[in-house]
Symmetry: C2
């Protein structure tokens, strides 16, 4: 962060927290490193996952003189404006659960109404507090909603093929594990009991939690910085459709702007990212300009829907894995990695090696002239 | 200018006067125009000469999603850092004069010492005031020096093949015309008399001036904005070598920074332009990325030495004319235009037509998918 702990003080310092500044910082850093290491001619390849994947792809597009290539993993650079359908993210989360088990999807989909009905009753919130083992008595249904929502969304994102600890410690294919829990209850069990048990897998796989802090303090997830970016430039409109397992919701630029004004005192620039970095008709644009970018995406990752899923040119390549989740290729190799994951990493190394193999003869030719 | 007449008030408003902001402004403007004109899919080609030429080339590199191509005329994008030899600009000015007449070059080269000797004498400045027909008595030799310097440098830049009025009204090939004046004096004439007569062609081709304002008020040439940019990002180190017709001079980043601090209260970022836009080993970088740029340069233009003078790829093309001067291709066509100038413009139109001819089938293919 550009100003350390003071970065979040006000818009005056937060203003530097934007993608263009980040790219310029990387440009300066890499140039300075090369200069200090006397390796001006060494090829540099940038790597990034998620938001970092967007930065990696954009860096290669804007600074081809500093990086000879980029590996952009799970980079949803098309999740802006109206390039990708607004409902695709939550539809994809839901599809992960539906593919694991139709019953599981239907239990979750039905749980919101059950929760609403219960919370409307006398002593409903008290009962929910007990069912959800809340460390402190609940004041509203919202916190339960958010607690469940986070569990399902993040688990879909990290539906990795091996035991992992990215957001939380979780078993291999945690979506399947959650659905196994939901499906494993006797037929009379309520939907609320089932979704609580499923979400507990996310929050308590280690079984260390005695109770759950459903009502978080401010910024428990360290997302304040991201929220600032979402309220200035990284505006990704998202909705929940009838097809999703979440309650339907809409998106309004106007309401979003009002919320941002309340939280940060700024108005979003909703079309800035596509103005600065493009995205509309991306294959048309990059077919004949740009080069040396790998976009890798796992289809289990709901962000993949806003990524580049098809080759654009001979050197702008999409690597898509059916069972991959959020930047799974960037996780450390383990003895349990499936073949498709090993193959994905092998392809990435091979393509990057190809860029480097091309770079040195190009450099030699340039030096001769 | 971003704040109209208030733009120059202080660094607070001047801060927006930089190349990145200019490019972002153009990106927003073009997107907004396309939106308002319901022509989102129309191909846009950007044009610019001199600094505008740099912006055009950089715009195509940074915003390929907004412009399908660029014609960058007389764009010295390599006049930064140590990419182009620091003395090349003034060496090129001198070469223009030397090619017109070796005697002419030698008279100008020798005039500075003669001026210095005279100004050191009693009543020397008074005599110079009379010789140079100064509207007001001279206080120092500096103003004479600058007056002559401007005449020679700008005349080299606008050494157009036809009568023109870009900096000043001037005849066709004004360098040759100046040298004809210098060479036309009887052998006993002083160098001072000759260079004054030559410079008068630049300041008084219309013969309307009764006297010359050698001591300008602040910013007589409207260069304050450019000076700000030179003091922040557009740092182009320039020196005069022994080969040039000007008194030798050196360049020091340290002294330059001190001057900028005095004038604007800012320190230059001398390597920022190459960090942001590249330039070092430009053919290596752009050989396999970027596309659809024409760099046109006339070798009479001293800025051409900092331009792209060789083809980089099949779609990044250098058009060089031996007799062309500063963005001569962007001047209105006249009945006196020589064949090579007509041919240059014809080539530019043909290449741009090629980009458009390629764009529409690409667009059709994209829309089908």
């Amino acid at each position: 962060m550009p100003f350390g702990n003071k970065s979040y003080k006000s818009a005056e310092t937060l203003g530097y927290l934007n993608s263009q500044q980040a790219l310029a910082d990387f440009a300066l850093l890499i140039r300075s490193l090369k200069h200090n290491l006397s390796s001006e001619a060494s090829p540099v390849v940038v790597f990034g996952g998620s938001y970092g994947g967007m930065l990696a792809a954009w860096f290669r597009l804007k600074y081809p003189h500093i990086a000879i290539g980029a590996l952009a993993s799970s980079a949803p650079i098309l999740q802006f404006d109206d390039i990708t359908p607004w409902s695709s993210f939550y539809d994809a989360v839901s599809q992960d659960f539906k593919e694991a088990s139709l019953n599981c999807y239907e239990v979750i989909k039905g749980s919101w109404a059950e929760l609403e009905a219960l919370s409307a009753q006398n002593e409903g919130l008290a009962e929910l507090s007990r069912t959800f083992r809340a460390c402190q008595d609940l004041h509203s249904l919202d916190s339960v909603w958010e607690w469940l929502w986070s569990a399902f969304v993040y688990t879909a994102m990290v539906n990795y093929p091996t035991e992992a600890n990215f957001m939380m410690p979780l078993p291999a294919y945690p979506v399947q594990a959650m659905c196994k829990i939901i499906d494993g209850f006797p037929s009379g069990a309520s939907k609320i009991t089932r979704v609580f048990a499923a979400a507990s897998l996310y929050y308590n796989y280690s079984r260390a939690e005695k109770c759950f802090k459903l009502e978080h303090g401010p910024d428990a997830h360290g997302l304040h910085g991201w929220n600032w970016q979402a309220c200035t430039e990284m505006v990704m409109p998202m909705t929940c459709s009838e097809e999703s397992m979440f309650p339907t919701s809409s998106f309004s630029y106007k309401e979003f702007a009002e919320d941002c004004m309340k939280t940060f005192g700024v108005k979003p620039r909703p079309h800035w990212i596509t103005t600065e970095f493009g995205g509309k008709r991306i294959d048309l644009v990059l077919k004949r300009s740009g080069g040396n970018i790998i976009f890798s995406n796992g289809m289990q990752d709901p962000w993949s829907r806003g990524g580049v899923l098809k080759n654009i040119s001979s050197s702008i390549i999409a690597l898509v894995t059916e069972k991959g989740a959020h930047h799974v290729d960037f996780r450390s190799a383990t003895k349990d990695d499936p073949e498709w994951l090993k193959e994905l990493r092998r392809q990435e190394v091979e393509i990057i090696q190809g860029w480097i193999d091309q770079y040195y003869p190009d450099l030699k030719r340039t030096n001769k002239e």
